[in-house]
Amino acid sequence: MKTFRKGLMVAVAAGALFAAAGAASAECTITLGAAVSLTGKYSTNGTHTKNGYDLAVKVINEKGGVKVGNQTCKFAVKYYDDESTPARGAELAERLIKQDGIKFMLGPYSSGLTKAIAPVTEKYKVPMVEANGASRSLFTKGYKYLFAVLSTSEQYLQSAVALTAENADKLGKKPNQITVALAMENDPFSQDIRAGVIEDAKKYGMKVVIDDKLPKELNDMTTTLTKVKALKPDMLVVSGHAKGAATAVRQIAEMKVDVPVVAMTHCDSAKIIKKFGKAAEYTLCASQWAPTLKYSDKIFGSAMDFAKLFKKTYNYDPPYQAAESAAALLVYKDAFERAGSLDPQKVRDALAKTDLMTFYGPVKFDETGKNIAKPMVLYQVLNGKYVVVAPSKWAEAKAVIPRPKWSERK
């Protein structure tokens, strides 16, 4: 009996020792918190977000982790499912920070969720690097702990306006004679895009002739397109998430609406090439990122390397939502290493001074926390492929403007 007791005590002591040792090495795991939509209406893009985070964590840890001062740390992420509802997102952010003791946050998917979570991280002075909240209104509230690696929403289709102005002579017009039709969903994100387009159209002296706000549950645009047929604008700009892109591509072809320039957002999440084939040809699409861009960094290599690795890991091509999410981790790694500390305040200050090149593009934050270094790119669907046509620095091909009329297509 006595030996048994002795044995037990040794075991307990050894256990305690191991636990202590465990704690010592666990100290240098940097656990980031994230509430991501894994169920609900954003589940598709929420999963892209999580995959982007996970891949970056894996690669960074494999390639030596994060050097904070003289320690080498590993990244880990604690996830909760926010069910695509803002109220739940805010609740979970609170829980991550207060109960789980998370000191650094990654962003959720969508502007709406980011908007709900930002006040919480701000309250507890916890830095949040987010990759999927593009709404301009996120950066007008004076948040100090919010950093976004992506281009904000008003920039989404500005390059399409510039491109049309550059090609005005092909339409037989001067830039200030160009007429623009807008069909934008009535939600904050699309309305931001609308504001950006209108601002730029004004700069060139273009005239907005149609300005329709589409309902949230849109699956029919025939009224707007009938108006387009009647007024014959030179440019049609559509934004309404995936449902807007799908509806627009389908009905523009169905009704044979001839517009010289058609630009929209969310082409890839609506899978317009796969679903509508020829009908999608010549559509201009805004994108945060493309695998063909010549950005690169030391962790992932080039944009194309990232795309290949992602495809190998998850068996599908990375949408830009995944790329920008991975970039958020690179930004964190850089900030931790420059701060040389795990103190949230010091890391925040380091984040604010970020000036980093990644496979996703350059990252540099202005005082509101948005990335001002990376431009949006514009694809055009040409021969069943997305081809970068603007900005001209990255263009793989010249944009086809005007689109051929439906009667002239095969």
């Binding site: 954003y42 589940s43 699956n219 025939t222 009224t223 009938t226 009647a230 044979k256 899978k271």
Partner: protein, 299 residues
């Protein structure tokens, strides 16, 4: 008012708007038949109406994955939804038939959320469409577009409406449904199995929505959270038409569709729904006034 002068100067666009309105209205009417029936017979406002429609669309996509032609989706969705409707009745709806309207609203709202989430889980949250391969006609030098699937939806709304009317008038079950709607207690005394009647009514409603959903996925597009507009439109159509008035449902469905298209064109799409609701208020006020004139009351 620029838009108005556009319509006057180029009257051809009136035709396009009218046709688009009729087609979308026909699909609304199809979804509303069942709501009128369930409301009239069981005194339940089925908030899950739109989810039944969307589910019908997903069933069609599923059938197409098994290599069936898209049009086969219409009867298949109807049959699957009929079974689902019957099951839901046995599971949930029978408990709330005699309950307060508020309880039934809550219960069917619950069903609608359940269906939304299940569809999202099973089919994913992507926007989906199906190609009917029926082709498109172009009239007046490409100015007016007639997708055949939408024209088919229009014809089907009438055919199904007429079939439903015939069923209610002629068949034993139809007569039992009407008897139960008039006075459930008396019907029970006379030996009608009202429980069965209710189950059939609810299942028929689901089946009609399923057929409408098959048409929606071919003519427009669906995703799991797009049901609400169909519920709202059905609700409005039934209020306008009155309970159990099938001709009224078709008429107000088509009228609503056309009104929406023209309002969208003239005022801008953001006022589309607002205009329709305004119209509803005007119609109700006018009807109340007429009834007061004749010293009747609103049923």
């Amino acid at each position: 008012m620029n838009n108005l002068s556009l319509l006057i100067n180029a009257p051809i666009f009136n035709i396009q708007l009218l046709l688009d309105g009729l087609w979308i209205g026909a699909i609304f009417a199809l979804a509303a038949f069942g709501m009128a029936l369930v409301w009239g017979v069981m005194n339940i406002i089925n908030v899950a109406q739109g989810e039944f429609v969307i589910l019908g669309g997903f069933i069609t996509l599923l059938a197409m994955q098994f290599g069936l032609p898209p049009l086969a989706g219409i009867p298949i969705a109807a049959v699957v939804l009929f079974i689902l409707g019957w099951g839901l009745y046995r599971l949930v709806i029978w408990r709330i038939v005699d309950a307060d309207m508020f309880i039934s609203l809550l219960a069917t709202f619950g069903i609608s959320i359940m269906l939304q989430q299940l569809m999202n889980e099973i089919f994913g949250s992507d926007v989906r469409t199906a190609e009917s391969n029926l082709g498109i006609s172009y009239l007046f030098d490409n100015m007016v577009t007639v997708p055949h699937i939408k024209a088919l939806a229009f014809v089907l709304a009438f055919v199904i409406g007429f079939g439903l009317w015939l069923f209610l008038k002629r068949s034993r079950m139809g007569q039992a449904i009407r008897a139960t709607a008039q006075n459930a207690r008396a019907a029970r005394i006379l030996g009608i199995d009202t429980d069965r009647v209710y189950a059939a009514t609810y299942a028929i409603n689901a089946a009609l929505c399923g057929a409408a959903g098959a048409l929606v996925v071919m003519a427009y597009s669906i995703h799991p959270y797009m049901g609400l507009p169909y519920t709202i439109r059905s609700f409005m159509i039934v209020i306008l038409a009155g309970l159990g008035n099938l001709v009224g449902v078709i008429a107000s469905g088509l009228g609503l569709g056309v009104a929406e298209q023209f309002a969208g064109f003239l005022l801008g799409t953001e006022f589309q729904l607002a205009f329709v609701f305004l119209l509803l208020v005007v119609v109700l006020v006018w009807r109340q006034w007429r009834l007061a004139q004749r010293r009747q009351y609103l049923k």
